[in-house]
Symmetry: C2
Subunit: 274 residues, 2 copies
């Protein structure tokens, strides 16, 4: 029996985590011709595995990647990894590289989680001008996101929000982006941003909680002029997390709406395991 | 003594080529936070090494990558590789990955070369809509280029020319792009495209051969309406290579101007070795 991070999976085979390497001379590797997913393991089980597998397949289709892997198999392989390393909670990363010799790699990492305080008070985010290539898909074309997040972290911010050529704050480097005006939630529609697994649950939570949803992109100028009264980001790891400041604009809120959504989607995660 | 492809360099150390791997869990690798160069070795010596090293450094600076490598050292390391594997001619690929543990990898591959016929008759290229991220730098953000070239190759074309939102054919996936009208050569200026090492020699060759140069992007519609009478692409491997067809538009030419440029820049390469 191993422990978290000791093993990984390559093409269904359990290997030592140190063997999880990519060939530097593989053109697919060199070009970022790959797609990936991050998912949570809690209570020893992957959360919304089916949703993540569907999105991985959708991303692979989006860049017309051919590969020999069946996602039914992946489900079984993940079970082997969880059992082998006695994993109760973790963040799993599934990487599917295409090209002449496709590979499917699963690695397990400590479960990402954030202080309660951040949810109560909100986090600081910056903006960064740039548009993700093929934003609907979760591909390895991540240089923009890397540079944007590095810029944010240099300013002690938690996340960078990518702003497109029209001045819309579409999504974060690893999150979706939302803004409330009273009981109406605004967020960009699925043609412009990653169709987040958590984003989808958030839209469902809005229905339950009596919020309406308007699928329209959020302009930075509307945030700066305080036309929204609560702003938040979401991801698998974060759930829904309030944003109290965007660049120099303070967005004062108690994050009651965001945290109601957060609590509900986390409750659903646990329910989905049983 | 080895032979071409037997060894590679990692951070100055000669290693077996099979050991040239990248960690799949390194965030820089996952994000394509790297820059690279391809260069030619002929007569046992790298061509325009200084130019390529300068551009590698310019690309690294362009994405604010910190690394511990000195390019004087790289020159010596390359000599070790050339000697160790008795390399007379080759294409060298230099990859500089950033992040927490930067690595500088040099691999040697058979020298890329193309049939004489292609230079005489020109090659078929397609267009592909898309703008390279940070086009001035040679980064690992290559997914667009990968998809564009795959699309071209599926149509039996040799290269895909990337067309920006304004309808300009700026550059190929691995080449710069040029068009003649009589004795005037047009090509996009350095703010829009990669400052190719070969592109630079081409501009110098134009001076010698009496062609004027206009640094303006070339619109696809001008090619379709036959407002140019000779079109070509360039790269380190290709030199200058005529394009006889772009999508469905035939561009009839004897490529005399392109081949005069090609011959001159290849002559300079040899001269530069001595």
């Amino acid at each position: 029996m191993g422990c978290l991070g000791e093993h990984a999976l390559r093409n269904g085979k359990l290997i030592s985590a140190s063997e999880v390497v990519l060939s530097a001379t593989d053109r697919a590797v060199q070009s970022g011709f790959g797609v990936y997913e991050s998912l949570r393991v809690i209570q020893g089980r992957p959360v919304y595995l089916q949703d993540h597998m569907l999105r991985l397949e959708r991303s692979a289709c989006g860049i017309e990647m051919k590969h020999p892997f069946r996602f039914d198999d992946l489900t079984k392989w993940i079970d082997v990894l969880l059992e082998s390393d006695s994993i109760e909670k973790a963040t799993l990363r599934v990487l599917l590289m295409g090209g002449d010799s496709p590979s499917l790699i699963v690695t397990a990492h400590p479960l990402l989680s954030y202080p309660d305080d951040w949810y109560r008070k909100g986090v600081f985010a910056t903006t960064y001008a740039g548009e993700r290539f093929l934003p609907r898909y979760k591909t390895c074309a991540q240089l923009l996101s890397y540079l944007a997040l590095r810029d944010a972290q240099a300013k002690n911010a938690f996340e960078a929000i990518l702003v497109d050529r029209y001045g819309y704050a579409l999504e974060g480097t690893r999150s979706n982006f939302f803004a409330f005006r009273n009981h109406v939630l605004y967020t960009a529609d699925e043609s412009l941003v990653l169709e987040g697994v958590t984003r989808d649950k958030i839209l469902k939570a809005c229905e339950c909680l009596g919020f309406s949803v308007v699928l329209e992109p959020i302009s930075v100028s509307d945030i700066v002029s305080h036309r929204f009264d609560e702003v938040f980001i979401s991801s698998t790891s974060m759930g829904a997390m309030g944003v109290c400041r965007l660049d120099d604009t303070l967005i004062t809120s108690d994050f009651a709406r965001t945290n109601a959504i957060h609590d509900l989607i986390r409750k659903w995660e646990v329910q989905a395991l049983h």
